[in-house]
Symmetry: D2
Subunit: 289 residues, 4 copies
């Protein structure tokens, strides 16, 4: 399923007031565009309006730059915080992993068959390449960046350099088991997605499956969220759960959790890359597929 | 939560073409209306477009009739099949039940606390009033209409008379265990919702829980759908399931099914009454809450 | 579905060692009993063994007291902590509610149709009888026990007196919105089930749906647990969740939560009354149906 | 997690009568064995009893052959249909796949990390090795067996030869898109597991996702079952579902279905290999983990 090059995704948020939809849709119509998908959300608590529009150009020869230029006036009129990009354009994504590679293997598979539309710019791990001996990286640059307390600053500096030099737009912590420093977190604000292996806000921090077992919960879960300096407190993108029982040891939870983690992370990344996730303070608006 | 009287729900479907959203939203803006919710769906298979808009009047004194009149021109331009009504206006609903009253009791409860916004015009049963001795009908007219093969025509004629004379807009088969004739089905087309106690299309017809047990399925379900002359083949509005096991006898399925049935039926009715369900041939577009 | 009077439920837990199942099953066989259901759990962390057996008497005239007497020797040999009772014997249950009556109404319905096998000994509320004007209490004694900070001690003393004098074996907090004191909690240890309207351990305490909304979680839940002096920290019996989205206001969560709460509480009570729930420290072993 | 070599799994089914559990557990106790896990099911419809016991040898030097020999007498006394094997012994499994490799890739991953305890004896496909260029088969023999109507008999003969000569005990149709003939099906009875991409019994046969889309169901699913000569009618081992909506095209269902298929198939295989699945006529008893 290739996306035609004349398909675009527009997203925006703004203070709510009458006329936004009319203004935006009339502009698109006058530019010869046809709306294919549109989702909106009016947050009555914050009086903020959110919208995602997928459109194609059907009745004109308008280029992206012409549409963008023309839209600037509309956007200013409504004080829009907006993005506009070709749907077919793949985002550049940097993956970070540690010893457990179930999320990494899963993302590579989904990328290979075209399910997640992205260009993978690199794979960073604090473990060496042989940890993933059976995974075909298919030419993706691999960076072994071991880390200790003493070398954390240097290691994170390298991560940031790789992120920048590779033109990455998103960093994915695919069970990367190192807590990022506030400094790196700040640089990656809104551009870094983590998978935490608990149903947040329950069981933050280390060994959440052991915490869940100790508490005796009857469902276990995983949470994908944007990384912020406040550990496991970032805006949640997606969560899912499975039923467990008293029979499940912590090891059983680890095993069952792998399935939940990989599907929750994959959904969160897919939605982010399709501009379906808009930040709304410490929460997210997710226009699900 | 009372809905202000200036809130309206507009729904429509039409052949898809550019400019529909612009046309509708510009009309609303010019009439002084503010869009509060909007959901749309572009069926690329049938090239049909579906939309639901909730709006209120903020910058004018426009009445419903003025808006309706003005909108007629827009609607004609796009060949819209449309409805427009005050959100606060309660629909009139006729309930039909048989011996098992779990759906009936549940709907009465949800109605009483205001969860499902409807006026109940009557309760029809083929069983006598004492079957529901513990249910408080709260002044709702009750009609005992026993039925045999020989009297089915007369009985259905009475149902139709009650539906019409009470000004009912929707009939709900809340585990009413009589198959409606083609004649009555035709009159109630799009205005009659049933709950079938299986995950359709599996286990149509009689005793679906026994069928499910015999087949050894690992999940059981219920389906709410519009009634058509083709038994259990009408457009599906909502479905849900629960996990079961080899331990569950047919009686266990009956018990566990009650919970699924009542929540599936309640959702379907709520969505229908909020104009969230639009027919799309033999399927439905459901703009979920 | 009446249960024959010769069906019995045996439960026990004990330090694990070889021969327990052989000892118990051989005893039952020799007494002329047939095992109908058996579930067991060997907690390798605590080295404790849990078992539930349902049996009937098929090849003898053994009475419950004879079986009980004979079993005492077996029980002593393995240091069993055990219960044995006729399956058909209904437990006596005291319900407590506050203004929101969805759990109360639901439990009364399930009791009436025989789904939950119990005798309801009374209904206590801090709100007057007219709060439940549309509920048919069917002769169950109602106790209006208003409470203020100043009168809490006296009110709880009355609750305890009613619990005792009515021969109640279980107290159910069916959305009873008063925190029980440590004193009353201690007396009701293992005999008091609460429904908390969040997926614990997330969102303890007051207004959990508002907390869930503020945190932006993507699934909401409810938890039924034994009440302990540590608020919302008691052993969890059952939990369930539903998917929500950014569109859901706190009021929507309240509405959607009612369905989750009532089914989670009903399951927990049913399982407790069928001796399916065994305490294992701060957790539970639940032999689900 | 290596399993000690003195752990054994015993399963059996037999006509129900008093004393079975006593007989079996007493035998094990007298042989110096300790029961670690036990699950049982009494099918009151067919009067057949099913049991699975995991035990280890703690108080003797009994070997498997000694236990097996001794148990034969017990088994004859109760007319048991039984199996007994070391828990640590890996079963030999032959995988069959076609073009879509999501189930194959997933099973290889789970095998590699030790989640599914099996020895893979070979991979058969009607597509050439390069179809799976990015999958590391790690020395597993690959057999390219193209098939046409005219060559089906020969191709299936080769499959059967490979199954036999490799000592395979289970064949897994991991989205192998050829219908097996009755002849091969008969030989593989109870030893061949398929994944069908619908929630059976809905949407049997070809293109189930397109069928599901056309019917407008609100949940989609997948089913893993033993293969019988009656297409998609074999005993069901496991099923699961996900919610979908009117927005989902058949292609979306294909995409979303991959996640369901692979987890349903993996569970079914795991349970089969752990002797958790016992046939009960056209249904299964599944002692879930």
């Amino acid at each position: 399923m290739t996306t035609p090059s004349d398909h675009f995704i527009l997203t925006f948020s703004c203070p709510n007031k009458p006329g936004i939809v009319a203004g935006v849709s009339t502009f698109l119509f006058e530019k010869g565009c046809n709306i294919l998908e549109a989702q909106q959300f009016d947050d009555t608590e914050t009086n903020r309006f959110f919208m995602r529009v997928v459109f194609n150009v059907v009745a004109s020869e308008a280029s992206l730059s012409e549409i963008r230029e023309g839209f600037t006036a509309v956007a200013e009129g409504f004080a829009l915080n907006w993005t506009l990009r070709p749907k077919a354009e793949k985002r550049r994504v940097l993956l970070l992993a540690s010893k457990f590679d179930h999320c990494l293997a899963d993302l590579l598979y989904r990328w290979r068959i075209g399910e997640i539309p992205m260009d993978i710019t690199g794979i960073i791990s604090n473990h060496p390449r042989e940890t993933y001996a059976h995974l075909d990286f298919d030419g993706i640059p691999f960076h072994h960046l071991p880390v200790t307390k003493a070398t954390k600053l240097e290691q994170e500096t390298k991560i940031w350099e790789i992120f920048q030099s590779s033109g990455s737009e998103l960093a994915v912590l695919a069970r990367y088991m190192q807590v990022l420093s506030d400094g790196l977190t700040a640089k990656l604000s809104g551009k870094c997605i983590n998978i935490h292996h608990s149903f947040l806000p329950g069981f933050k921090g280390a060994k959440p499956y052991h915490q869940a077992h100790a508490r005796g919960v009857k469902l276990m879960g995983a949470t994908s969220h944007y990384v912020t300096s406040d550990l496991d407190e970032g805006p949640i993108i997606e969560q899912d759960v499975e039923r467990i029982s008293h029979q499940d040891s912590p090891e059983d939870l680890v095993r069952k959790g792998r399935d939940i983690e990989r599907r929750v992370l994959a959904r969160a990344i897919s939605w982010h890359l399709q501009d379906r996730v808009l930040l709304n303070g410490s929460r997210t608006v997710v226009f699900r597929d």
